[in-house]
Symmetry: C2
Subunit: 171 residues, 2 copies
């Protein structure tokens, strides 16, 4: 379980680099920042800013709910209006997750998780994590990337995936 | 580990429904199927067909490599040209994954995984799964969804996430 949350935090870190490329692209092409921050893939979809808010929320809620520390979850008011503020939002989620360690999630697979959109129900921790939090998280991270790509920002799969640990085969 | 792979298989099942809505939309609007199958978010990105090929490949490779059964991985030639053939591709990956059980992945966290793009290196099973296979998988599933959404197909988050297990709170 912890490895999944840790990877989410890595993905938010990758979004720092992706947003920076967006900002550079806006400068180079003389675009208002809003042109990217408010860009969408379709008229009734959420814009870039909301995608960043949603994926940071998803990691916050997953860590808070699965550890049983919902009372200590920080508030993330959705007030970001600049690239700088979106970077700060990413950092808030990364920093919050860094306060946890693997031990905080012992027994979390069987924890009963309640959700604001289904108040009379609960999900087991594992069902919530795999069936909802992970797909929802990657949905918003990928859509943030896709919005910038759709607007012509030169980001690539390498920016999305980031690095992962490999080591030389000996012999 | 198995839960992550199982969820990938669920996501491919959700893509059946998403593709069906795409096909219905094409019929309703008198579009050639190719208009959707070859649609992209940006000129140098992959089209819908390739996104489906990529996410099915990712589950196949993750299951085959992590279980150590790479010799028995089926070939998925990239020849799909119709919605029907894309549904069949999804089923090939879902059916292949169904041949595994959780026991096949015992010890897989520490298995040495080699990848065709880095032949002198290996990744530990966990680093490959969390750092590469999962983000790559969700990247292509979400992009497939985003391409259809960008083309006006009326799919929603519910189609993407599908159902997850919740139960009534008693008392």
């Amino acid at each position: 379980m912890y490895e999944n949350l840790e990877q989410m935090s890595h993905m938010l870190n990758n979004l720092h680099g992706i947003l920076t490329k967006g900002e550079e692209h806006a400068k180079e092409h003389g675009l208002e920042h809003d042109a990217l921050l408010e860009a969408k893939l379709y008229e009734d979809m959420h814009a870039l800013t909301r995608q960043i808010q949603a994926c940071t929320d998803t990691l916050k809620f997953a860590a808070g709910r699965l550890s049983g520390k919902t009372d200590a979850m920080p508030a993330f008011p959705d007030e970001e209006q600049t690239f700088e503020e979106l970077h700060a939002r990413l950092d808030k989620a990364i920093d919050y997750f860094a306060t946890f360690s693997a031990e905080d999630f012992e027994g979390a697979s069987e924890r009963h998780i309640t959700l604001p959109f289904a108040k009379t129900m609960y999900a087991m921790g594992d069902d919530y994590l795999y069936g909802f939090a992970i797909p929802n998280f990657y949905f918003h991270v990928t859509t943030a990337y896709a919005i910038l790509r759709n607007q012509g920002v030169p980001v690539g799969k390498r920016d999305f995936i980031g690095g992962f640990k490999m080591q030389p085969i000996e012999g």
